[in-house]
């Protein structure tokens, strides 16, 4: 199948653009035909093969090359789909929303420009992965810890820009970013915060600079291309003790979350801890067929067998204590006493877990900021390899937690899947992330997933819950739920889009934001 052209762009225009891109970056860094096949969504949902397909990809090596590419794209009206490393796999990977776009792949911009131990930060380009930064710090013996999401090969910049989360006290990645360099859609370069002040020495120390704080408009957006970003790193805390608390009953989630809220607000729970469901934890190292040969979701009897076999609960609270023993001992006393009020709660430190592989042994590394890919063992639960995340945000209340759990798990099971969810604990809210694992090579399963996901979004929105992040296939849908006051927020986004990107060349459709010429069905 020929690679598609974007709407309104002729084959001649595209050919001219690609030729100019080759002059800018070198012929070997422009990919077309078979060379672009690896930019497809690896876990596709749609059965329409014409959707989300790039025409080509171009991989620059510098901010100057990015500027030159953007200039050409404006002249020839060729849309660029920007990815830092393209490893955002459950959300579309490197694939564009608008078919025919040229992927602007920043993987080669992988320089670690500074790591500052004194103040605890790094300044990196978008192609730097968590593996890269971790290796850099370890090789130099710096007393700094990373905060990592589950995919260690992901981009430090890209993950923060997509509002990704990790599991240490620095778990909210966008909260921890400080200072950006951005190429605007018209090619100018700006530095945000203190970076706008010539001669400053605080670009990565103070986020706000002077005047409006604009960094947020470059996250989950198509308003600019972030080519450098500061990220704060945690100093070695001088002590570390990961723990696991298991709970036996589904309904325990209500009481667990009520206990979590004050402990998190007061920083007794120090990190971005997670409350993980039985099947999610079981799936990291085992498959469904090891326990159950039937169709559909596992029955309760099987769930009980898995709990006994793997020494885990229906819910599993994975947290960690950071600091010297006098501090962590005191915090643990409060945490243990608080959760002890739940009948059947069991408490484990690493030394209490003898089986290998083991979920706490695995999560202990992640909560220590060691990048890995181990978590993605859960993709093999069903054997089909596909997955998509449904991720509504909830207040940290027991009432909301059990309501969300029941809403989502009922639908997921109704469609024949196991509930694989976690509640990632923020300061005042929970990201309730439900991973739906499916057979991506089965068109009927993809159709079912699409129907289920659409239902979940609508039902959540009707109860006031919105997703924090989503797959390219659902960006319009999710954006459409944030529609208070006659879509006032989207209208503002569109005004910003039109002002910064008058030719509409940057990542059309990202987060539901379309350039003027592609709105109202123009992209169809």
């Amino acid at each position: 199948m020929a690679d598609p052209l974007p709407p309104g762009v002729t084959a001649e225009q595209m050919a001219e653009a690609l030729e100019q891109f080759r002059r800018i970056v070198g012929r070997e860094w422009v990919f077309t035909d078979e060379g672009v096949s690896s930019y497809r969504d690896p876990y596709t949902i749609t059965n329409d093969e014409n959707r989300y397909r790039a025409h080509a990809a171009v991989a620059p090596d510098s901010t100057e090359q990015v500027q030159a590419i953007v200039k050409v794209a404006n002249e020839l009206r060729v849309p660029l789909w920007v990815v830092s490393r393209g490893k955002n796999f459950a959300y579309g990977g490197a694939a564009p929303v608008l078919s025919g776009s040229v992927v602007l792949d920043l993987s080669r911009m992988n320089r670690i420009l500074e790591v500052n131990e004194k103040f605890g930060y790094a300044l990196v380009e978008p192609g730097v992965s968590y593996f890269d930064l971790y290796r850099y710090i370890e090789e130099r013996g710096l007393k700094l810890w990373l905060d990592v999401p589950d995919p260690g090969w992901g981009s430090v910049v890209g993950n923060a820009l997509d509002h990704g989360v990790g599991y240490t006290p620095y778990g909210d990645h966008f909260m921890m970013q400080c200072g950006m360099e951005v190429v605007l859609p018209t090619g100018e370069v700006v530095r945000t915060g203190m970076g706008a002040l010539p001669g400053n020495n605080t670009w990565q120390l103070f986020k706000y600079g002077f005047g409006p704080y604009v960094d947020g408009i470059f996250s989950q957006s198509n308003f600019g291309i972030v080519t450098k970003m500061g990220i704060w790193l945690m100093p070695d805390p001088g002590g570390y003790r990961p723990y696991l608390i298991t709970f036996e009953r589904e309904e325990d989630i209500e009481q667990v979350v009520e206990i979590v809220r004050p402990l998190r607000l007061n920083n007794v729970i120090q990190n971005a801890a997670t409350i993980r469901s039985l099947v999610l934890d079981a799936a990291v190292f085992t498959t469904k067929r090891q326990y159950y040969d039937g169709d559909g979701p596992i029955p309760d009897s099987v769930a009980r067998r898995i709990m006994a076999d793997q020494e885990i609960g229906m819910w599993n609270f994975c947290g960690a204590l950071y600091g010297p023993p006098p501090i962590t001992d005191a915090l643990w006393t409060v945490i243990r006493d608080s959760f002890s009020t739940i009948p059947g709660a069991k408490f484990y430190f690493l030394e209490d877990r003898n089986r290998r592989p083991d979920i706490l042994a695995h999560r202990a590394e992640t909560m220590r900021g060691i990048p890995k890919l181990t978590e993605f063992g859960f993709l093999n639960w069903n054997g089909g390899g596909g997955h998509v995340g449904f991720s509504p945000v909830s207040p940290t209340t027991g009432e909301d937690a059990i309501k969300q759990y029941r809403m989502v798990s009922r639908r997921v099971r109704e469609y024949g899947f196991d509930y694989m969810g976690l509640m990632a604990v923020g300061f005042r809210e929970l990201h309730h992330v439900t991973v739906i694992v499916y057979n991506q090579s089965d068109p009927e399963e993809r159709r079912k997933i699409d129907e289920l996901f659409t239902l979940l979004v609508r039902e959540a929105a009707a109860e006031g819950y919105g997703e924090y992040r989503t797959h390219i296939h659902y960006m319009d849908m999710i954006a459409g739920t944030y529609n208070w006051n006659d879509n006032a927020l989207m209208k503002m986004h569109e005004r910003i889009k039109d002002a910064l990107d008058p030719n509409g060349i940057l990542s059309p459709g990202k987060s539901g934001i379309w350039p003027k010429h592609l709105r109202d069905g123009g992209a169809a």
């Binding site: 690896s38 690896p42 420009l113 500074e114 192609g127 993605f376």
Partner: protein, 108 residues
């Protein structure tokens, strides 16, 4: 203070390295250790566990297999397979892929 916008950065930048440049003579083991080992290393990594289930324990570790052929490795790397996503050519170049193929198909 100082004209040099970021004296610190400039200084550190000279040391701080850019990551292995595509185009330098790639070493197959280094390519494997950078791109593959996190799923296909020994222990309980997802690729190793799944290959043990589907191909048998003796074929679970890619680095111990003698049945892999270049075309298969190239196809899986560029197109993905089941849970494994494809690797784009900017991140894992054709030259690096060739080195990886040689590493994984070397006589054992």
């Amino acid at each position: 203070m100082k004209p040099a916008v970021r004296t610190t950065i400039a200084a550190v930048s000279l040391l701080a390295a850019a990551l292995p440049a595509a185009g330098a003579e790639p070493d197959g083991k280094e390519v494997f250790d950078r791109h593959c080992i996190h799923c296909h290393g020994p222990g309980s990594e997802p690729g190793t566990l799944q290959l043990a289930r589907t191909r048998g324990q003796e074929r679970a570790l890619l680095t111990e297999r003698s049945d892999l052929v270049p075309e298969y490795i190239e196809a899986v790397v560029r197109n993905g397979l089941k849970a494994m996503p494809a690797f784009v050519p900017s991140d894992l170049t054709d030259v690096q892929l060739e080195a990886l193929v040689q590493y994984l198909t070397a006589p054992r």
